[in-house]
């Protein structure tokens, strides 16, 4: 199940908010749907990101998708390990597969609790 200490976007990203910073990644459901991830394009440190807007892209053996930022602010750190080891996202989406750390400019507006997100995932599995 999805960790209960995170907030979730409908577009299947998560954010771990601590004070004025947020760690961002994609959910376990997202990595399962994508399959083996082959490439991630992330913003650079210093770039600003906006909640609900594209911040990069992710490619797998099945598809290429946009990465939507779940939060607004400035990128502090990027997970450079993913350049050579994008499979970390498949193996550990809530841990070593994190994408970026963001200095928040505002609190996120539209994120869901883990219970709300669980419902979305269950709903879409039956489609």
């Amino acid at each position: 199940m999805n960790p209960d200490d995170l907030l979730y976007a409908k577009s299947h990203e998560w954010a771990r908010i601590s004070g004025q910073e947020a760690l961002v990644g994609i959910t376990d459901f997202a990595q399962q749907q994508l399959g083996d991830i082959t490439f991630v394009e992330l913003p650079a440190a210093g770039d600003s990101v906006t909640e609900g807007q594209e911040m990069g892209s992710i490619e797998s053996v099945k598809a290429a998708s946009e990465l939507i930022s779940p939060v607004s602010g400035t990128v502090l750190v990027v997970n450079t390990d993913l350049e050579n080891a994008p499979e970390k996202i498949n193996r550990d989406p809530y841990g070593a597969g994190w994408l970026v750390r963001v200095q928040l400019s505002a609190q996120p507006q539209n994120l869901l609790s883990h219970l709300q997100y669980d419902e979305i995932v269950e709903g879409s599995e039956t489609v």
Binding site: T38, P86, E87
Partner: protein, 480 residues
């Protein structure tokens, strides 16, 4: 299989052009001449013949196998078209001839082919003007998007957005983005465009809506009249992706329905070869008010019946391709249209739709079919039930290769999970269709009792299951 270089034996004589009989000094600039002979494999003629014959047998093509690759219309390419394209008057014509002063009369036949093909495609689609220059479907999309941009620019306004439904052809968002537009994705409802959602997305920044009809689920967009009305209400343009024209050719003229820009894939609907990523042909047709923006050159017919190349279109988007596009490809399409004629083309679409619906009905119990109603020329099945038991759409696709069928498109469109997108085309007979269904059902039954046997497939192909992840992560080309 070894490469031809691995078969090389130093000193083994082959068939060569022989030694030059006269001194070449002065004929080739010395700075361009090789210091040493090129590193060609040293093999005999028979070695070369066997090598290439073996290679050709490793190929999996529509000439050897059923090829139901959805959205791609992999129909058989009739061989008479090759004969037409090989006529020396066409294939030996130098592409510069029509542009040389006074030489146009040496190329009248070829220019007439261009002129007539444009008119035939215009008649089939109901469009006022056509260009044959784009050299692939995606190139046609980009050309169409550039024409759309030119139209709005000519009206003195900037339109920044293009709306693409999530059931549209996969290249549409990329083409719009390359042309500089922001792409707005539109969610489908019950497999087709929801007019309400479209109305909400439309505003004065929208340059165009790019539609594929029937869409990638093989469903006809039933709300088309309302969609046309909505798009016109903001003076945006409606784009028709011709990827699925094979379903409606002769049944509906997209220009009459209200589409403003159309691209066709001659290598789909009109039976020309797909090639290995080329040469394709993606002609673009436009409605009357967009004709001035078509690329140059354009072939014009004079009063005396002579054809000539006209470049005098100040509003044209300019050149999109060298010379006149892939002449040899649309020449084949021209032959195809004339050979089949009006009734033949209509029967193409009828049989393509019939074949798809036959497969859909025969498979509806074995696989889930999310939008299970009368489809057009293709339909999308889902292997969610099988995936829950460990047999994914990918595994089924690989197992089909072992049975001698090319796999359907898998995991597209993205809106259907574990998608298998099946398009049989009109050229397959009942025996082939039945064999495909029987083999597919057998695979599904075997997968239910023994998933591992399907997960291991294919075993009878030249190479077995490839590590696609590794291939995508380590882009290194080496000998197998």
């Amino acid at each position: 299989m070894k490469t031809i270089f691995a078969n090389s034996v130093p000193g083994r004589p082959g068939v060569g052009p022989g030694k030059p009989t006269k001194d070449l000094t002065g004929l080739i600039p010395m700075e361009l001449a090789r210091a040493e002979p090129p590193g060609l494999p040293e093999v005999g003629e028979l070695d070369v013949v066997r090598h290439l014959s073996r290679l050709s047998r490793l190929n999996f093509g529509v000439d050897s196998h059923f090829y139901p690759l959805g959205s791609c219309t992999m129909k058989y390419n009739p061989k008479f078209m090759e004969q037409v394209a090989a006529l020396p008057g066409f294939c030996r014509l130098h592409p510069l001839i029509p542009q040389l002063r006074g030489a146009g009369h040496f190329a009248q036949g070829a220019l007439e082919v261009i002129y007539e093909t444009e008119r035939l495609l215009g008649e089939i689609t109901g469009m006022a003007g056509f260009t044959l220059h784009p050299m692939a479907g995606s190139h046609g999309e980009l050309t169409g998007a550039m024409i759309i941009a030119a139209y709005h620019k000519d009206k003195g306004r900037t339109r920044t957005k293009v709306i693409v439904p999530d059931s549209a052809h996969g290249t549409n968002p990329a083409s719009a983005a390359i042309a500089g537009f922001d792409v707005i994705s539109l969610e489908s409802k019950d497999g087709i465009i929801d007019p309400q959602a479209l109305e909400n997305a439309l505003d004065e920044d929208v340059a165009a809506v790019m539609m594929t009809c029937p869409n990638t689920l093989g469903l006809f967009e039933r709300n088309l009249p309302r969609i046309v009305e909505l798009v016109r209400s903001v003076d945006a343009l409606l784009y028709y992706d011709g990827a699925n024209l094979n379903a409606i050719m002769g049944k509906m003229r997209v220009g009459d329905a209200g589409f403003d820009v159309v691209h066709l894939n001659l290598h789909k609907t009109f039976g020309t070869p797909h090639g290995g990523g080329g040469p394709g042909s993606g002609p673009v047709g436009v409605c009357t008010r967009l004709v001035d923006f078509l690329p140059v050159s354009r072939v014009v017919k004079l009063e005396d019946g002579q054809f000539f190349l006209d470049y005098d279109y100040p509003k044209s988007i300019g050149y999109v391709a060298p010379f006149y596009g892939n002449f040899g490809v649309y020449l084949k399409a021209y032959a195809y249209i004339l050979r089949l004629g009006r009734n033949g083309l209509i029967r193409v679409s009828e049989n393509a739709v019939l074949a798809a619906n036959y497969l859909r009905k025969r498979l509806e119990d074995a696989l889930d079919i999310p939008c299970n109603r009368i489809c057009m020329h293709e339909f999308v099945a889902s292997a969610v039930r099988q995936a829950a038991q460990g047999v994914r759409a990918l595994d089924i696709a690989k197992a089909l290769l072992d049975q001698g069928h090319h796999a359907p498109t898998v995991y597209f469109p993205l809106i259907i999970k574990e998608a298998l997108m099946i398009e049989p085309t009109e050229t397959e007979n009942l025996t082939t269709l039945d064999q495909f269904v029987d083999d597919l059902i057998e695979i599904l039954e075997r997968g239910a009792s023994n998933p591992a046997s399907i997960q291991a497939a294919p075993l009878n192909t030249p190479v077995s299951r490839l590590d696609e992840t590794k291939a995508a992560r380590n882009l290194e080309l080496t000998d197998l």
